[in-house]
């Protein structure tokens, strides 16, 4: 078990290192622009540009630059090219927003997704099932940013039913925090509810046809008991896997669209600003932050599975 764990963690570190290297290549090698010129500002002279290039060691070979950047990142000293602020500090500031958005949306989508999935599985073939399936399909087909724009316009700008974007810290006013996040939560959750509902429905229906369930019914257990005790529990396992990875993706910056539309200054918003400015240090920070969550959660899921099923460890 320990060996398995160590191997997976080692794999995780390697993947993160390669990810960071790729980000570096993408933003330095591909566009070929000169960051020194950009940082130097409007009235910079050649002397200024040379000084900046020296300070940021932009003349060194790119692997040296990458190594230096990694060093700075892990000691918290990495600063952005455009506004000279600490990257780690800015990400830290954006975390409460992204966490609030992701956690709240996750709770909503998990709850409603399971609810919807169970209802449509239990009433399979009937009107409620069909209705839910249609709605779920529509939900999965909507671009999340468009839904956000529509909701924000319809419920917050044309009238004042909801606050018009922005974030209020939990510590300053829990009520306002909740109120400001409602629309973003719903926007982010709709896609996943539809999706999880469909997945759960099909899992339940599959499980119901399994032999052991039929045996249980043959033994005289009530349909409801069968559903809850056997089918649901087994159908939920793949959902848990999915949820872990989706949550990690959303937490790691996948909510960038929702944050942009609702003006929530979280990590995704920070990433988008950095990309627009071709600002490499924040991008490096945000990408590693996001990759870390995804890799961490997927490793966690694997570890849990390995713990549950010893056969997997041997692989």
């Amino acid at each position: 078990m320990l060996a398995f764990l160590l191997r997976r963690v080692f794999g995780m570190v390697v993947v993160l290192a390669v990810v960071s290297f790729i980000v570096y290549l993408v933003f330095v090698k591909i566009p070929g622009g000169d960051p020194a010129q950009r940082i130097a500002g409007r009235t910079a002279t050649q002397a200024n540009i040379v000084a900046i290039r020296d300070k940021l060691s932009l003349d060194q070979p790119f692997y040296v630059q990458w190594y230096k950047m990694m060093q700075q990142l892990f000691t918290g000293k990495l600063i952005s090219y455009t506004d000279q602020l600490s990257v780690v500090g800015q990400i830290w500031q954006g975390l409460p927003v992204t966490f609030s958005l992701s956690l709240g949306a996750a709770v909503i989508w998990l709850f409603f997704g399971v609810l919807v999935g169970v209802i449509s599985a239990v009433t399979a073939g009937r009107l409620s099932d069909r209705l839910i399936t249609v709605l779920a399909l529509i939900g999965v087909s909507m671009p999340v940013f468009w839904l956000g724009i529509i909701l924000r316009y319809g419920l917050a700008e044309r009238n004042s039913l909801f606050p018009d974007g922005g974030y209020v810290a939990l510590t300053s006013s829990p009520l306002q925090w909740f109120y400001h996040l409602l629309l973003p939560w719903v926007t982010l959750a709709v896609l996943f509810i539809g999706f999880y509902g469909r997945v759960l429905r099909s899992n339940i229906l599959d499980t119901i046809n399994e032999d052991y369930v039929r045996t249980a019914r043959a033994k005289g257990l009530s349909a409801r008991r069968v559903l809850i005790k056997h089918a649901l529990r087994n159908s939920l396992i793949p959902i848990v896997t999915l949820f872990g990875l989706d949550f990690a993706a959303v937490l790691g910056g996948g909510a960038i669209l929702t944050e942009t539309v609702y003006d929530l200054h979280g990590v995704g918003f920070y990433a988008r600003t950095a990309i627009g400015n071709l600002d490499l240090p924040p991008l490096m920070g945000v990408t590693l932050y996001g990759a870390f969550f995804i890799v961490f959660f997927s490793t966690l899921v694997d570890v849990v599975y390995a713990w549950l099923d010893p056969r997997i460890r041997v692989r």
């Binding site: 399909l137 529509i138 940013f145 046809n209 999915l242 990309i275 991008l283």
Partner: protein
Amino acid sequence: MATSETGQDFTLDTAAELASEERGRGIEGKSPWFLAWRRLRRNWIGLGFLLIFVLIVAGCLLAPVYASHVSHQGVNDTNVGGTVTVNGKKIDVVSSGGVTVGANGQLTVKPGGVPIGPQWWHAGGRYVLGADSLGRDIATRILYGGENSLQVGIVSAAICAFVAIVLALLAGYYGGVLDWVITRFFDLIWAFPVILLGIALGTALAINGFHHFGINLSGSSLWIPTFVISYVYIPYLARPLRGQILSLRQTEFVEASVAQGASPLRIMFSELLPNIASSILVLFTLIVANTILTEAALSFLGAGVQPPNPSWGTLISAGQTTIVTAPWLSVAPGIAIVLTVLSLNAFGDALRDALDPRAKVRIEH
């Protein structure tokens, strides 16, 4: 975006009913493909959605032929100062404003700049869905935008499928080191949040284009978002296929072929590929739905289709600034996206049911 896991049943018939119908109709001697076709044929809802999708694609791809004639305006022709006759009345395409200087130097501004809304057919085909802030015809732009969005979406899905199939075959057949390397490659792509990776690549490439390895693409070329999007979806397609190939590899008939000395290529083509064909078909429709959504998201953020080429995503983005005075600018392209993706998803469901009503086609992690 989340991975999608296909399951059962969206059709009229539940699995059990379909299966029992099969037994009633007699299936001896008929190939699985014929049976699938027969099931699909009876699913008129699924076929209806396919028709919708085909109509949308045709309508958009043929836009250069007819759109300008109907709207009497080119796709990029601005008309800020023009007028249009609606039911006999002449109105400004984009409303005028003005600045008046008051008694004590106070300025009053009448904003202006509001484009007209959907005229439907009242203006003889002009501004059917309204105008944007530069007086351009929205309906025309949605059709041309659709051409770009669909082109990028479908082609990138095709490229993704090709690469994914090749990689899955190589990994699944050869196993060992090759498999390990290819799987790590998937992990690498997987580790990036899709949107971030797409935006990062799209933005970096849009600045100066791609001028390495003998390939020369300008920053505004449609190939750039196409390749970026195809790249990010490779693992979604390749992993489940690889899983299937791995298990197929162990089966007796494949072992037999290997023992007979058949070449790897032959085995891949005649034994492995046909058996994963139904998975490929089903997954492909899902990937196209996702690539269209991803292209919209990237273009919305400015990292996808570059101006001046319109795309559904850029149209939605441009409509944000006038969301209060002219909401249709953002609403209409979004509805186009929803219709397209919905019909694709619905047809994909029907296809999956037809190919194997009790299928366990899943995308694993």
